[in-house]
């Protein structure tokens, strides 16, 4: 017989960072208060520091060799697995989106469904993007010459705001399906779905460090991200024009590729974080 007290107190979740496959608090000990759309306190997610960012980049760089060398089939299956688990976690994410974004249950549910489908869409790209973007090139000489896109390395993502789950999933899936690793700074007002999604990633056979999630202040973290010499590219979709300009100036130090997207669902989200490699070899006997 199950007996639940009528005045049972809910067990609330502590929303922490996701770095190297673990869920640490910010090393700074800082948090910020998140309120629902009606102004009620919801949670105290971590306010990530420059050092947390550094730790996340170390984790992402460490994971790059393995993830980029994994077969495309394998990467596709892991993304698909994330979609499966996202489907199963729908109720929790719907509740978070309703509270945070102030959306109706219908809208929140639709956003989660669309996010699942978006993950499936990106998962399918893993073993097709090279076919679409690569080529053999008819050079004028006895050489076999082919071009193929390769992942660029470590990408920092400033996730765009509403619809926050869809934007988060689109950014992460596009960057990582090709073999990149990522440090994602969740949209400042919407950290909860991002961390809940990190719990999905943590249980999807995604190798530790491939995707790392920070919550906190974009304006605080953007300059450190832009000047970090071991970050190869930034998806700056969530930055303001002023932050973007400052990031472009600081990012020139190592010629970071800095991109801004408006669509969650486009192959550009994959290709903008890839580099084309061309290989020549003589033909002869």
């Amino acid at each position: 017989m199950i007996a639940v007290p009528a005045n049972r107190i809910d067990v609330l979740k502590t929303y922490k960072l996701f770095i190297g496959g673990a869920f640490p608090r910010s090393e700074s000990g800082r948090v910020y208060s998140i309120k629902d759309s009606k102004g009620n306190h919801l949670a105290n997610p971590s306010l990530a520091s420059r050092k947390d960012l550094r730790d996340a980049v170390v984790a992402a760089r460490g994971a790059f060799a393995g993830w980029s060398a994994a077969t495309a089939y394998n990467r596709g299956q892991i993304l698909y697995r994330m979609a499966e688990l996202l489907e199963g976690r729908s109720a929790q994410l719907v509740a978070e989106l309703m509270a945070l974004e102030g959306s109706t249950k219908k809208l929140a549910t639709d956003q989660v469904k669309e996010s699942v489908d978006l993950l499936v869409w990106y998962a399918g790209w893993s073993d097709k993007i090279s076919t679409i973007a690569g080529s053999t090139n008819p050079v004028s000489g006895p050489y076999y010459n082919f071009s193929t896109p390769e992942p660029i390395g470590v990408v920092a993502i400033f996730a765009d705001a509403k619809p926050s789950l869809l934007n988060f999933v689109g950014a992460v899936a596009g960057v990582c399906v090709s073999g990149n690793t990522a440090v994602v700074i969740a949209a400042e007002p919407f950290p909860l779905p991002a961390i809940t999604f990190a719990e999905i990633m943590a249980t999807s056979d995604l190798p530790a460090g491939v995707i790392n999630v920070l919550t906190g202040s974009s304006s605080e973290l953007a300059p450190w991200t832009a000047s970090h010499m071991d970050i190869d590219a930034i998806d700056a979709s969530g930055l303001t024009p002023k932050q973007l300009k400052e990031a472009q100036i600081a990012g020139a130090a190592n010629l970071k590729r800095i991109r801004v997207h408006t669509d969650a669902k486009t192959p550009e989200r994959i290709l903008n974080y890839m580099e084309t490699k061309t290989v020549w070899h003589p033909i002869g006997i």
Binding site: S147, I249, A252, A253, L255, T276, V279, W280
Partner: protein, 480 residues
């Protein structure tokens, strides 16, 4: 007398007519610069002044951008794509017709051997126009949506190492995609660009589609910062590339940057050694080493180091340095006194840091700028000559024991433009090529270029590609 001694075989300069003074090419006409200033361009092989070149100021750049904008909105963007392509075909044909003239002029102004300007630079430049001409009416198949659009006015700034070839790499795709151009050649090598202006006139290219403004870095900055420029395409140093990236921050301008390199050329123990030695020589001594993708870091598997170096020295002793107009010359003049000083500075640093220098025994002419082909052995990864781009005929030799170590050392650089791999084992080549963080990998060859083949770097070697479908898309905005 050595029975294998070469007699001089000088290419005649009669085919080229060099004017005393060159003006700017704006809106289809040669116009005097508003700056009123001119600067000399010299032949680096004898330091004699070839001509005076207009020094464009901000007003001149503004006029050029205005002409390009008018040509873009009134003529070039409205023309049927197939007709646009036909102008490029015309240009390609005229370049072929006047190829020798261009080659001689390039060699006079740049100092590169006539064999290279005649057999590489100019034929490839013509090929680039021919290749891109055919793209003009097929842009909907380029993979960027069914209605890709040009940017508008493109500012293009090119270097002195391959003046005419770099012009072709820039102008041909820009025009094929429907953009118009303001181009600035390097201040030490403007002459072939100005001869190209004449080609545009002969091809009856509509006025203002190509504008050529000459000058130094200040003129380049005027182009980059002009609000009427929609896109920048730059080839040059990483240092200037970063300045450009900073200058266009917060604007709508996009940029393609082809910057520096410090390419590893990896020789595995199972390489065909004699072929590899030829590849090493081509990799670092082609064009006096004034090549951003030069194989300037030689990585030799330790057990074959002595054999390779011995053969390399024998081969280098046969390199012919001298008059660039001599058809037998392998190494011509260093392009400028400033570049020669930079090479000398780094070579001095190489010796001071403990590497062992060996230079080919060749006679250095009394006038002009020259540097004997040189190798450094015993180089460590921390030496300046292993880290910094020398941009001259100087090779730094390092060793490795395992393929993993070779890849690690090859990738230990902020650059990522090119790399070479020498092995007779196919699987090892592909294993290595897939791990090298560089945009162009030459396996059992080096320094090959083709309009159909994308070129460009990872990391601090730049943004984007030039050549092939990939390079074409750098001049197109996607449509959804």
């Amino acid at each position: 007398m050595n029975p294998f001694e070469y007699s001089p075989a000088l290419e005649s300069t009669a085919i080229v007519e060099i004017a005393e003074r060159y003006n700017l090419f704006i809106d289809g006409k040669f116009v005097t610069p508003k700056s009123g200033k001119y600067f000399p361009t010299i032949n680096p092989a004898n330091e004699k002044v070839l001509a005076k070149i207009a020094d464009a100021n901000a007003t001149d750049v503004d006029l050029a951008v205005g002409a390009a904008r008018a040509a873009y909105s009134k003529v070039w963007s409205k023309m049927p794509a197939a007709e646009r392509g036909k102008y490029l075909f015309r240009i390609a044909r005229i370049l072929q017709e006047r190829a020798r003239e261009f080659a001689v002029l390039e060699t006079l102004d740049n100092g590169k051997p006539i064999r290279e300007s005649r057999d590489t630079d100019i034929p490839l430049a013509a090929a680039h126009f021919f290749y891109h001409a055919g793209w003009a009416d097929k842009l909907q198949y380029a993979g960027v949506g069914i209605q890709p659009r040009p940017y508008g006015v493109v500012g293009q700034i090119i270097p002195w190492n391959f003046p005419m070839l770099m012009l072709a790499w820039k102008v041909a795709p820009a025009l094929a995609t429907g953009n118009t151009v303001v181009l600035k050649p390097a201040e030490t090598t403007s002459l072939t660009a100005l001869l190209f202006a004449e080609v545009c006139q002969q091809a009856e290219l509509p006025n203002g589609v190509v504008n050529i403004v000459t000058g130094a870095g200040v003129t380049g900055a005027d182009i980059v910062n002009h609000p009427g420029i929609d896109k920048i395409a730059f080839t040059g140093s990483t240092e200037v590339g970063k300045l450009i990236a900073t200058s266009i921050a917060g604007t709508k301008k996009s940029a393609t940057l082809e910057l520096g390199g410090k390419a590893a050329n990896i020789i595995f123990e199972d390489a065909a050694i004699d072929e590899a030695v030829e590849g090493i020589v081509n990799g670092i001594f082609f064009n006096q080493g004034h090549v951003c993708c030069a194989g300037s870091r030689l990585l030799i598997q330790e057990n074959i180091h002595d054999e390779v170096i011995e053969k390399l020295k024998v081969r280098m002793a046969h390199i012919r340095l001298g008059n660039p107009l001599d058809k037998n010359t392998d190494i011509g003049a260093i392009n400028s006194a400033a570049q020669l000083a930079k090479i000398r500075e780094l070579v001095t640093a190489g010796g001071a840091e403990g590497a062992e220098q060996w230079s080919a025994p060749c006679e250095i002419p009394g006038e002009g700028f020259w540097f004997a082909p040189t190798i450094f052995t015993g180089v460590s990864q921390t030496h300046r000559i292993a880290r910094e781009e020398i941009f001259g005929p100087v090779l730094s030799v390092l060793t490795f024991r395992t393929p993993q170590e070779a890849v690690e050392k090859a990738n230990n650089t902020p650059y990522g433009l090119s790399a070479g791999v020498w092995s007779e084992k196919g699987s090892k080549i592909l294993w290595t090529a897939s791990r090298l963080r560089a945009g162009v990998i030459w396996a059992n060859t080096f320094n090959k270029f083709d309009p159909a083949s994308p070129f460009g770097g990872y990391k601090e070697s730049g943004w984007g590609r030039e050549g092939g479908r990939h390079g074409l898309t750098a001049y197109l905005k996607a449509s959804n």
